[in-house]
């Protein structure tokens, strides 16, 4: 079948302060055939949205080639439409005007513009809302306007950037099934769809193929073909099998890298910390320790039970892995001995366990504590550590790491931090 889109060896970097560059996409390849829905699945920061913007012609790559229907993409191409996560509706235009905006640049006669807009509105189920303003609509209806605006130009490729993630669970599901149904009936004037998402079940539900993205830098780590007929049943064993498979793939690589870093003899402060609050960690530990899990759970199960998105669950799981409170392996998460003790303890003892775990497993926390111990004043300015971190990582990653370590240290009462004075110290107010 003819290929609508070809992405070959694409590389994208962002300039960082001091002439450095951050590699966001590295050697990415992708082809979209006619009649296909391809999912780009990955954690936030894996560059999947960046790739979508390259395809949309909103940005250009530093290396590699992107071609749309055989022609290189050098700007927003006619026939490529996008649906945005935040809807990107114009609040000062009515539903009809918003939808017509997609046609405005095509220089059509007004009558045809109007007819096509009304047809799209009808198709997407917005009948009766033509003269409403976006702020009068619920989130789900707003995103329908987003869909209608994209569909009205009869695009060859529809790009969707996490279109359901700003919606509540019920609305999102309703919109997904409507879309899949329209697509299945061949009612959408679209030839192919690329869907960016971090929701594993959504990808399995909607896509013919799923490309898994790994982070730092973003790469396509594997491709999974979803060989299920539409409409798909979330409860069928095959469906669950695909979901499990993706969970395993997505966690394995990260956890392995984490282990490698920790195992290195001189594991240092250069390990970036992702912000997770101690409350989230405690919460997940308690859930794991309780029935029916008794210390061990399947990641998809616990994500479902705790109503956690992958983007929320993975960082917590990884933080627990880092702190040696749990082990993540093969799509399962299992409490360690320390983790179980943490679950059984009172608050003060928990703080102690947490503090010890910080000293043993988080080099940055141990480092700050050591400096504070050594200094006569038992205090040190934030800039001292920030400068040190910035030798190893980007500026905002350094800020994030410090923020994370502060929040963990506060819980473990390892040291304290005064934000007004930007000062670390050993003193707690007495």
């Amino acid at each position: 079948m003819a290929e609508l889109l070809n992405v070959e060896h694409v590389r994208r970097t962002f300039p960082r302060g001091g002439g450095e560059e951050l590699l966001v996409l590295d050697d990415v390849n992708l082809a979209l055939k006619q009649g296909e829905i391809v999912g780009l699945l990955g954690r936030s920061g894996s560059g999947k949205s960046t790739l979508l913007r390259l395809i949309a012609g909103l940005a250009r790559p530093q290396g590699g080639r992107l071609t749309y229907m055989g022609a290189p993409i050098e700007g927003p191409a006619q026939g490529v439409a996008m649906v945005f996560q935040s809807f990107a509706l114009f609040p000062w235009l009515t539903v009809l005007e918003n939808v017509q905006l997609g046609l405005e640049a095509l220089n059509l006669p007004p009558r045809e513009m109007r007819e096509r807009a009304l047809a799209a509105i009808d198709l997407i189920g917005l009948d009766g809302y033509e003269s409403a303003y976006p702020r009068e609509l619920s989130g789900g209806m707003r995103q329908r306007v987003g869909f209608a605006r994209a569909v009205v130009v009869h695009p060859n490729i529809l790009l969707m950037d996490e279109p359901f993630s700003a919606l509540d669970v019920l609305t999102a599901e309703n919109l997904r099934t409507d879309l899949v149904e329209l697509w299945g009936n061949g009612k959408l004037p679209i030839k192919g769809i690329i869907l960016v998402t971090h929701n594993i079940e959504e990808a399995v539900l909607m896509c013919d193929r799923v490309l898994l993205f790994s982070s730092n830098p973003g790469r396509v780590s594997s491709e999974i073909k979803i060989d299920l007929p539409q409409p798909r049943d979330r409860t069928s064993p095959q469906f669950e099998h695909y979901v499990d498979q993706i969970y395993v793939e997505m966690t394995a690589r990260r956890v392995e890298r984490l282990r490698e870093q920790q195992a290195r003899a001189n594991a240092g402060i250069e390990m970036p910390l992702v912000h997770v609050s101690p409350n989230q960690i405690s919460g997940l530990i308690e859930a794991l320790a309780a029935a029916p899990y008794d210390g061990k759970a399947d990641l998809p199960d616990i994500a479902y039970e705790q109503e956690l998105e992958v983007d929320e669950l993975f960082p917590v799981a990884e933080a627990m892995q880092l702190l040696r409170l749990a082990d993540v392996e093969g799509g399962d998460i299992k409490l360690t001995h320390m983790g179980k003790r943490f679950a059984d303890s009172e608050l003060n003892e928990r703080k102690e366990i947490f503090s010890r775990s910080l000293m043993n497993n988080v080099p940055l926390a141990a480092h700050i504590r050591r400096i504070l111990d050594e200094r006569a004043s038992h205090s040190a300015p934030k800039s001292r550590f920030l400068d040190e971190l910035e030798d190893h990582m980007a500026e905002d990653a350094a800020e994030d790491s410090l923020k994370t370590v502060v929040s963990w240290a506060r819980f473990g009462e390892l040291f304290s931090y005064d934000d007004d004075a930007a000062l670390f110290s050993l003193e707690n107010p007495t």
Binding site: R53, A56, G57, L58, A59, R60, E74, G75, P76, A77, Q78, V80, A81, M82, F84, Q85, S86, A88, F90, P91, W92, T94, L96, E97, L101, G102, E104, A105, L106, N107, P109, P110, R111, R114, E130, S131, Y133, R135, E136, R149, V153
Partner: protein, 575 residues
């Protein structure tokens, strides 16, 4: 090509409604007034330099009309300036480097200085005709209006949500279309607000700049400002009351016919997902909206705009999408041009001061006066804060009272308070009081209201839960003010105080020298220093005083207000 009407009015009848008639009268009236006034522009200058102005109340409506038309023209010029200057600054990083700080300096230059420095040039544009003087007057008002409008527009352009821009580009809108369909609408709410603020400031200066007296040039353009000047010279209190009454009416009309509709209309450009609890209402906007005549009149314009979006080929396939690569050569050229410009300006300044034979003592005198005015501004802003903050909190916490007081406070801020100066001066003369002290309150007479209505706004947005919590824990009295009320309104107070203090510096020129008949009261200060220099046509000292005042304003902004504002943003912002 036929334009389809918006859905909302598609099924309306053809016959004109009474709304149409009213709208027609409004528009026609405006056109007639404009034509009538512009005929006057070609009259010889000599016709207005004598004492042609008789204080006849029957003439007053005509004068008020002229004054308000000057305002409107200046507003149009300010808008044009805003759309070009701010857009250039926001879109071009290189230009922005220069243009944004330039705005900061321009807003610190006292407005009367602009007038005194440019009047001769404007008069030379059309020798012997009134047009030149009119231009000078309009320019003066423009300098009082444009800067904050441009700045607000610049800020809006920098904060357009990226996904809206992306959506525009995805659907093939070119830069021109994106400007009118995305960026300008997005900026509209804050621009309208700043237009209102500018208009308030404008009233102050339009009355001041109509009676132009720079050195030997004495011009009194027909208008309320000149009327006041004559009334002061003749110690005619009733005439002053008439003028105040006329301005009240003019401002009310402006508010009802222009700004209320604008605010109500701009409300739909707010980018916020929540429906607003109380959308601003305006009967005039309803008239405009329901009027099919107005639709007919604006339709060709709309069609032209629509058509203009297609002038350039749509940006499909155009490489303009991304410009990652900085051209180093252009950077170098730009910096060289800037350096040359800077050198040239420095050379001219050096030349001017070289010829002007300034001594250090001259500069020291101006600086000393600057300190006196600084103390005056600080003390009076402090006093105004002490009075209006508690009152503002009290009012803001009571919604019914707020609905009553807030419009009054805004109106008072819009009223040209220099019309009241003669009354105060006549009292000072009567009691023989010290001008150094009693003229001082005049500099915050008009600007103190910014503190009041900002504090009211702050107190009224204070979350009910915070107030409940304070009450629940028995936080009362001074503790309540210290821990609850004052921190909650602090960011709003700072915004108000910044505006008030900026206005106070400008007002000092009008307030530190005031006369009543043949009595002229003079307080010591930089404002009086500049005003005197303007009156005697001593440009050297006008310039020196202006530079010193700009210096003070900029330094106070940098050292006091800016840190305070960011501190408030960080520490007290309730989100």
């Amino acid at each position: 090509m036929k334009i389809l009407p918006p859905v909302s009015i598609e099924a309306r009848r053809l016959l004109p409604s009474r709304w149409d008639l009213l709208a027609a009268v409004l528009v026609l009236g405006f056109l007639v007034a404009f034509a009538d006034t512009s005929r006057f522009l070609v009259h010889p200058l000599s016709s207005i330099s004598g004492d042609y102005l008789k204080l006849d109340p029957a003439d007053l409506p005509g004068y008020a009309l002229r004054t308000s038309l000057r305002m409107l023209i200046a507003m149009g010029v300010s808008l044009a300036f805003t759309f070009t200057y701010a857009t250039w600054a926001a879109k071009n990083a290189r230009a922005g480097m220069l243009l944004v700080p330039l705005l900061d300096i321009l807003q610190s230059v006292p407005i009367l200085s602009f007038l005194s420095i440019t009047i001769v040039w404007f008069l030379s544009l059309s020798p012997g005709r009134i047009l030149g003087a009119e231009l000078a007057c309009v320019f003066t008002i423009f300098t009082g209006q444009a800067w904050n409008m441009a700045f607000s527009f610049y800020q809006s352009l920098r904060t357009v949500p990226p996904e809206l821009e992306e959506a525009g580009r995805m659907f093939g809108l070119n830069a021109w279309a994106r400007f009118w369909r995305i960026e300008a609408p997005f900026a509209m709410p804050s621009l309208t607000w700043n237009m209102m603020m500018s208009m308030s400031g404008g009233w102050f200066f339009v009355t001041l700049s109509e009676a132009i007296s720079v050195g030997k040039t004495n011009i009194a353009l027909p208008g309320v400002g000149s009327w006041i000047a004559v009334a002061i010279a003749q110690k005619n209190l009733p005439a002053i009351f008439y003028a105040i009454l006329a301005m009240l009416v003019v401002i009310l009309i402006y508010d009802q016919l222009l700004f209320r509709p604008l605010v109500a209309w701009a409300d739909r450009f707010r980018v916020s997902s929540e429906p607003s609890d109380e959308a601003p209402q305006s009967w005039a906007l309803t008239v405009y909206r329901r009027s099919r005549l107005l639709d007919l009149m604006t339709a060709p314009f709309e069609q032209m705009m629509r058509w203009s979006y297609h002038w350039q080929p749509p940006s499909f396939g155009i490489k303009a999408a991304v410009r990652d690569v900085d051209s180093r050569l252009a950077d170098i050229v730009w910096y060289v041009v800037l350096a040359l410009l800077g050198l040239f300006a420095a050379w001219r300044i050096a030349l001017f001061f070289g010829q002007a034979h300034f001594s250090w003592s001259d500069a020291a005198t101006a600086f000393g006066y600057g300190c006196i005015t600084l103390i005056r501004v600080i003390v009076l802003i402090g006093l105004a804060s002490l009075i209006w903050t508690p009152i503002g909190v009290y009012v803001g916490l009571r919604p019914k009272l707020t609905a009553l007081v807030q419009p009054v406070a805004q109106f008072l801020a819009a009223f040209p308070n220099n019309l009241l100066f003669p009354l105060v001066v006549s009292l000072i003369v009567f009691w023989n009081a010290s001008p150094d002290i009693w003229l001082s309150p005049l500099i915050v007479l008009g600007t103190q209201w910014y503190i009041l209505f900002n504090v009211i706004a702050g107190a009224s947005t204070m979350p009910q839960e915070l107030r409940d919590a304070a009450e629940n824990f028995g936080v009362k009295g001074w503790l309540w003010w210290k821990k609850v009320a004052l921190p909650a309104v602090f960011p709003y107070y700072v915004t108000g105080a910044i505006t008030a203090s900026g206005g106070a510096w400008n007002a000092s020129i009008a307030a530190e020298v005031a006369s009543w008949g043949d009595h002229t009261l003079r307080a010591h200060g930089l404002g009086a220093y500049i005003a005197d220099a303007v009156n005697t046509g001593d440009f050297r000292h006008v310039l020196l005083g202006t530079i010193v005042m700009s210096f003070f304003v900029v330094v106070v902004n940098r050292l006091l207000w800016r840190p305070l504002y960011w501190y408030a943003e960080r520490k007290f912002k309730l989100t």
